[in-house]
Each structure stands twice: as structure tokens, then as C-alpha cells.
């Protein structure tokens, strides 16, 4: 225990001596937490729309202004022919073409029927799909408006109408930020802890001080603990700063208990740090450690359910996510912060992450060899 005290004192001194690193540890996550949720938005806006209006009637004008007024579209061009508009797609100035045929207004009034043509530039898949869908629903809305004007609605509808009304629980206004901020915070804490721990032991290998440690009677598990605890403390501080930012910048107040949240993060961090230290014991240079961590971090994040729902992943990917600690962290963050889940609800997550912590740290201790 006494040895541990000296180790911790040394680690903290070394960490806080490097002012640049300390400010990076605290400053970078803050900037990311403020910038990323604003930029990384699922909602697609600023879709560039080229309009080819062959009709030039008051109805076609109404439709166009309705589309533009929706806020999702930006008029990239008002063209005479489809060919001209297609040029805009080719030069990537437009994402969608809305072609309004001649006699749009007349046909609509007389025959109560008219076809519109929408062409989508599918190179940017998300933008194209969502843009197409938005446009579709705006036109449908426009259509409904026209019908109301032209056709008197019968007293009793001749056909039954089922209207689906969704109510969004836990995030009532479907605020994207409420959904993404806890996830991003989870990722940031993971990155800070993972990279710091992965680079630490390997750094001592590079500069040669590990030899001097290895020739002392220090116990292996004490040494690993001495590396684990400082980063655990730092990552907890980063997490706390993140929660405060979420509260004051995004107004996100955890619905559930902070105690449950901190209990989970305490164990989760042991897993992440254990993984970092394990990588560190395998590598000989900081470059190796950096690349290995980078590889796993990408996997963890992309298969963590932050940006893409795990439910819609293929089965083999779902299996991988079960071994991904980040997945459990993101889930628990959302459960506790947004839904107010209690200890019993996150117990399975807690169990799995605890098991991972034991395995990874045990492995790191075994793999750290004082005698080669």
C-alpha cells in the first residue's frame, strides 16, 4: 500500500507537470461536447433543389413557395428544361429536381389528378432519401390542402381513415441533442481514458524507465494499480465536467439517479483503462499503441450505437457489439439520463462491464512481465 502511495504521487506529478497535456485532457472534451452535437445532426437541411416549372401557374408557384418555405430546401435553380436542371445535379449544385408538368393547374382542377416528377441525386444517400421523403410529404400536404379547397369534404367520410399519432417518450420534442449528447459524453470519456492509459506504460518502455522499475521489488498488480487510479480520477473529472456542460449548454438534467450513473462509470472506466493498459503491455512503441487503440476506438464507436442503431445492424455485427464496452456505456447513459432507469434496470450492463474489467485488468497484470 505504501508503495502504491509513492507510485500515485509520481504519476500525478508527471501528469500535472505537462501543462499542455493537462489542458488538452480537460479542454478538448469540452470543445467537442459543445461543437459536435451542433454539427453532427441527423436532420438534413439545406437540400439544394432545382425546379423545372413548365406550368408557371399560380398553383405551381404556391407549391414551390411552400416547398422553399419548409426550411429544408434551398432553391438552387429555376430552370426551363429538365436537361438544364440535370446539369445542376451533374455539377453537384443540386440534390433534387422537382419537375412540374405543363397543365399542372388545369389537370389538378379538372381531373383532380396530376403527376409530378422528382429526380434524386443518390450519391449522397442520406440527403437524397430524406430529401425525397420531405418533398413527398410536403407535396402530399399541398395536395390535401387543395382537396380541401376544391372538394367539399363529405359529412361522413366515405372511407375509414387511420391516422397514426406517435408520441415520443423520454425525448418529447425529438430533440436530437438530447439523444446525442449523453452518447458523445460516453465516447469522450472513453477516448480520454483509453488513449492516456494505452500510451502510458509504453512510454516508460520507450524512454527506458521501465527497466528501473522492473529491477525493483515492486509487485505487478501494485504497478498496474498505480497506472490505473490516476487516469480513473482524470476521466471521472472529465465526465463530471461533461455532465455540467450538458446541464448548462443543452439543459439536459439526468432523470435518473446520479449515484447509479457514477457507479456505472466507475466500473466502466476500469474496463476502458484496463483495455488501454493491456494494449500498452503488448506494444513496444507509442506509435504501435496509438494505432492499435485507434483501430479499436473506431470499432467501438461505430459499433457502439451512437450514430447508428444497433437494432438495425446485421446479426454478425450485433454479436460484435456484445463485446463492445462502449455500447453498454452509451445505453446506460441514455437509460439513466433520459429515461431515469434505476440500479435494477442497468444491473445486466453493470454485470457485463464488471466482468470485462476483471478480465482486461487481470490480463494486463499477467501480460506485464518484469522478467523477459
Amino acid at each position: 500500500m505504501r508503495t502504491l502511495r509513492f507510485l500515485l504521487r509520481k504519476e500525478f506529478r508527471q501528469i500535472f507537470r505537462d501543462k499542455a497535456i493537462v489542458s488538452l485532457i480537460f479542454f478538448m472534451p469540452m470543445v467537442q461536447l459543445i461543437l459536435m452535437p451542433l454539427a453532427a445532426d441527423y436532420e438534413v437541411r439545406n437540400i439544394n433543389l432545382a425546379v423545372v416549372d413548365h406550368d408557371k401557374s399560380s398553383y405551381s408557384q404556391k407549391l414551390i413557395s411552400k416547398v422553399v418555405a419548409s426550411g429544408y430546401f434551398r432553391l438552387a435553380g429555376y430552370n426551363q428544361s429538365f436537361k438544364e436542371a440535370f446539369g445542376l445535379i451533374e455539377s453537384d449544385e443540386a440534390d433534387l429536381i422537382l419537375e412540374i408538368p405543363q397543365d399542372f393547374e388545369r389537370n389538378l382542377i379538372r381531373e383532380d389528378k396530376q403527376k409530378l416528377f422528382v429526380a434524386v441525386n443518390a450519391i449522397n444517400g442520406t440527403k437524397a432519401n430524406l430529401g425525397g421523403a420531405y418533398l413527398g410529404s410536403i407535396i402530399a400536404d399541398f395536395n390535401a390542402g387543395i382537396r380541401m379547397q376544391l372538394v367539399r369534404p363529405p359529412k361522413f367520410s366515405t372511407f375509414p381513415v387511420i391516422e397514426v399519432v406517435a408520441s415520443n417518450w423520454f425525448n418529447p420534442v425529438l430533440n436530437y441533442k438530447v439523444f446525442i449528447v449523453p452518447g458523445i459524453l460516453a465516447i469522450l470519456v472513453t477516448m480520454v481514458g483509453g488513449f492516456l492509459s494505452a500510451l502510458n506504460i509504453v512510454r516508460e518502455k520507450e524512454i527506458g524507465t521501465i527497466e528501473q522499475i522492473n529491477v525493483t521489488p515492486i509487485k505487478k498488480h501494485i504497478f498496474i494499480l498505480g497506472k490505473l487510479i490516476p487516469f480513473w480520477v482524470l476521466a471521472n473529472i472529465v465526465f463530471t465536467i461533461g455532465l455540467i456542460l450538458a446541464r448548462f449548454v443543452y439543459g439536459i438534467v439526468p432523470v435518473g439517479s446520479l449515484l447509479v450513473l457514477y457507479l456505472f462509470i466507475a466500473i466502466y472506466l476500469l474496463t476502458v483503462l484496463g483495455f488501454g493498459l493491456l494494449v500498452s503491455t503488448f506494444c513496444d512503441t507509442q506509435q504501435q499503441a496509438m494505432f492499435i487503440m485507434f483501430f479499436f476506438m473506431m470499432l467501438f464507436i461505430l459499433l457502439g450505437g451512437l450514430f447508428t442503431s444497433i437494432d438495425s445492424m446485421p446479426d454478425w455485427a450485433k454479436v460484435i457489439t456484445r463485446f463492445n464496452p462502449v455500447r453498454y456505456m452509451i445505453e446506460v447513459m441514455r437509460m439513466v439520463i433520459l429515461k431515469g432507469s434505476g440500479l435494477m434496470d442497468v444491473l445486466p450492463h453493470l454485470g457485463i462491464v464488471s466482468l470485462m474489467a476483471v478480465v482486461l485488468n487481470g490480463w494486463a497484470i499477467l501480460n506485464y512481465k518484469k522478467t523477459n
Binding site: 505504501r2 509513492f6 508527471q14 524507465t209 525493483t216
Partner: protein, 248 residues
């Protein structure tokens, strides 16, 4: 020679890396309080042998005990009884002189009072009082090496292993360094030292010279010189090292 007096006993100690035999069946013993010089050209296997004796590297075959502990099974007990100063400077450059002393003292289990006393004594002896709160990185190499040695013997080990401790250090500082070594030896610490400087070899009680992983000679400097019929250790070393097949 009394058996109890032997702090290092090696018998046919060997280390192989694949086909390469770094250290080939070396057999020798070192007595308490002795300054034992371990010479050899680059690549002769000195560092490998020393790392085995320190419990940093497991031998391939042969036997060895350090301070009575076995190099295969009791490496941690060995580590309590030795000090080690590697070829590469390995104190923490981003800690101050005081912080380094405190850390290594603490790791070796010295009490706070012991650390305090030892620190004062050490700073006095090295004349480092005014530099105590400076980062080790800012010290000149010669001072770093003296500090490194003093830290290696801080816990009064039975044996201290020094791997080319004076490489790149000026002659005056080398002389001071050897004063430190003599002081340690007088306190009963056995000194096991590798060096490339033949004037330093003369300071040793006994020296061994390794050639291609084998220990070719082992005797006092005076005996070696008369055995080879030469006047300086330089010539002894030259005659032996010339036969070496490997090197850098």
C-alpha cells in the same frame, strides 16, 4: 575462499535468442565488497549477462544465485537485494532530483525518515543541494549519472550492477564517479561494473573479459598484465578482442 563470502555465483549460465548464443556458459563468482569489472567489446554479451543476474531476463540454461537467491525462481527476492543502473539513463527526467529520490526510496520500502536522511546525505555528497528542486532533465550528463548511481544504492543493496555507467562522461566526472563506487564498496556493497574504459578496469579488484559470449579471462588487473606480458590493460583487451568474430 569462504563460501558465505560469495554474493554472486554463476555456473555455465547461458542465454540464447534463437540460434544466437548471447552468453555462452559463463562460470564465475564474486565476493562481498569486491569491485568486479565486466569487460568486453560491444556485442560480447555483457548486458545480457547482467540482465540475467538482475532478474530482468530469464536464463536459457545454467545456474546462478545472487545474494543467495536463485535467478530462475526468486527474482523478486533478488530485486530487493540489488541496485541497478542501466546503460540508458533511467531516472524520470520530468521529475525533480528530490522527487526521483523520494520515489525510488519509497519503492524500495524506505521509511519517510530514512528517505529524508538519505536525501540530505546524498545531496550533500553530490553537491546537488541547489539543484534539488530542478528537473532531472536539466542536469548535465555527468551529474545525472552520479545521481543515478546514488539512487541505485539508496536502499543499501548487497550488490549494485552498473552497465557502462560512465559512457560519455568527462574524465574529471569519471574520477568522481569512481570515488562514489569506492565509497559504496567500503560500505560493503559489492560492485559489478561493465566498462569500455581500460583505465577504469585498473580500478577494479578483479576483472573478466568476455569475447563472443564466452568469458575468456578472469583475474586481477596485475595478474592479467603479467600473464599477457604487457604493460597496460589496453593491450590485454586488444589482444583478446582481436580474436572476436562478432561485434558491431
Amino acid at each position: 575462499m569462504m563460501q558465505d563470502d560469495q554474493v554472486i555465483v554463476c555456473e555455465k549460465l547461458t542465454k540464447r535468442f534463437g540460434d544466437f548464443v548471447a552468453t555462452d556458459e559463463i562460470t564465475f563468482e564474486v565476493h562481498k565488497g569486491e569491485i568486479f569489472g565486466f569487460l568486453g567489446a560491444n556485442g560480447a554479451g555483457k548486458t545480457t549477462a547482467m540482465r540475467m543476474l538482475c532478474g530482468l531476463s530469464a536464463p536459457t540454461s545454467g545456474k546462478a544465485t545472487i545474494a543467495g537467491f536463485d535467478v530462475y525462481t526468486q527474482t523478486e527476492q533478488i530485486k530487493k537485494n540489488i541496485g541497478y543502473m542501466s546503460q540508458k539513463f533511467s531516472l524520470y527526467e520530468n521529475l525533480t532530483v528530490l522527487e526521483n529520490i523520494e520515489f525510488f526510496g519509497g519503492i524500495y520500502g524506505l521509511s519517510d525518515q530514512q528517505i529524508k536522511d538519505k536525501t540530505n546525505e546524498l545531496l550533500d555528497r553530490l553537491g546537488l543541494k541547489s539543484e534539488a528542486k530542478k528537473l532531472v532533465a536539466s542536469l548535465p550528463l555527468g551529474w545525472k549519472q552520479k545521481l543515478s548511481f546514488s539512487v541505485a544504492v539508496l536502499h543499501e543493496p548487497k550488490i549494485v550492477f552498473l552497465d557502462e555507467p560512465t559512457g560519455g562522461v568527462d574524465p574529471v566526472t569519471r574520477r568522481q564517479f569512481w570515488d562514489l563506487i569506492y565509497e559504496a564498496a567500503n560500505r560493503g556493497i559489492t560492485v559489478f561494473v561493465t566498462t569500455h574504459y581500460m583505465d577504469e578496469a585498473e580500478y577494479c579488484n578483479r576483472i573478466s573479459i568476455m569475447v563472443d559470449g564466452k568469458m575468456e579471462v578472469l583475474d586481477t588487473p596485475a595478474n592479467l598484465k603479467s600473464q599477457f606480458g604487457v604493460r597496460s590493460m589496453d593491450e590485454v583487451f586488444y589482444q583478446l578482442a582481436r580474436s572476436a568474430k562478432r561485434g558491431d
